[in-house]
Symmetry: C2
DNA sequence: TTGATATCAAGAATTATTCTAAATAAAGAT
DNA sequence: ATCTTTATTTAGAATAATTCTTGATATCAA
């Protein structure tokens, strides 16, 4: 189902096939997905709604939530949570963490270093199955960190 | 201020000293902290409220939120966020991640492997300062994972 | 075209959390 | 011990993000 929807979206086909409950590629879902692809600044649902509404005035906030949920479940989009802030959405499917600057509030994607694995640093319990991992960081981005050029060490927080 | 409050709590002194706005060690703060220490199962604010109310019937939910906020700001307690669920609270100050079993809903603390550092795997942007990092995992814990004994590889999610 | 079903839209409802304002309690000074 | 000042508590109202509900609409397969 995941790849089915993606295939259909990227291929701009009209249908997601009848399989698995029959996900449909609707104008709204396509629009919401396009909005995310067009400006990859990790918008909130409301921001996506505003941008979507500019292109399709009839779309509703509830629909935007529905579409974001569907796209996330389908694996096309990632829901980004940092603390208790409103969820943000991101079409970057590569494994990455998120970093929010507490000053300018921009959200940055942080990629893995080459040949590294996130799991490698954690003492995961034997026998468990991890199928979702979310890494969120907060701090000052390079621009806002102005004077201090060192890539400072973290505080004790986890 | 952080260490001041901790010192006073652990020493069971009556005051947090006049420094830095004068944090006071009140019965409510002590109680909320004790509740967290007594049962380290990552309760939500409401759960902390229920447990606290059993020992001090006059305490209010707003106060519990206040205390949890104060204790977190003081560094005695960590606020744990996994996805959009209600925040949970944890008195474990060691660097660790959180793992929530999607079946039994238990929250586990995941420690770092020896000599590993979280930051080491991420390509952090030059010049930025990270001062908070939160790592949340979801999956099936060993018990709930029953049959499959492999510590399974993660899916693509981050 | 038509029937079955998925999806949409609008607004109500829910939930966690924060805010407000008056009452209370703590710490230091008298 | 009492007084004063200021932090904190309390209860309830307010807020904000998200989910739910329901009737209308769009889409797919036949």
């Amino acid at each position: 189902m995941v790849s089915k929807l993606r295939q259909d979206i990227t291929a701009k086909s009209k249908s997601a096939g009848g399989a698995l409950g029959g996900l449909r590629m609707t104008r709204q879902r396509k629009l919401v997905y396009d909005v995310l692809l067009d400006e990859r600044d990790h918008p909130t649902a409301t921001e996506v709604f505003i941008r979507s509404k500019a292109r399709m005035s009839s779309i509703s906030l509830a629909t935007v939530y529905n579409c974001l949920e569907t796209l996330s479940a389908a694996g096309l989009v990632k829901q980004v949570n940092v603390g208790r802030d409103a969820s943000r959405y991101c079409p970057n499917l590569a494994e990455h963490a998120h970093f929010v600057c507490v000053k300018c509030e921009k959200v940055y994607d942080i990629g893995l270093k080459c040949n590294e694995e996130v799991e490698s640093v954690w003492a995961l319990p034997e026998g468990s199955r991890i199928d979702h991992l979310e890494v969120a960081m907060k701090g000052l981005c390079a621009e806002c960190n102005g004077g201090d050029k060192r890539s400072g060490k973290m505080e004790e927080q986890v």
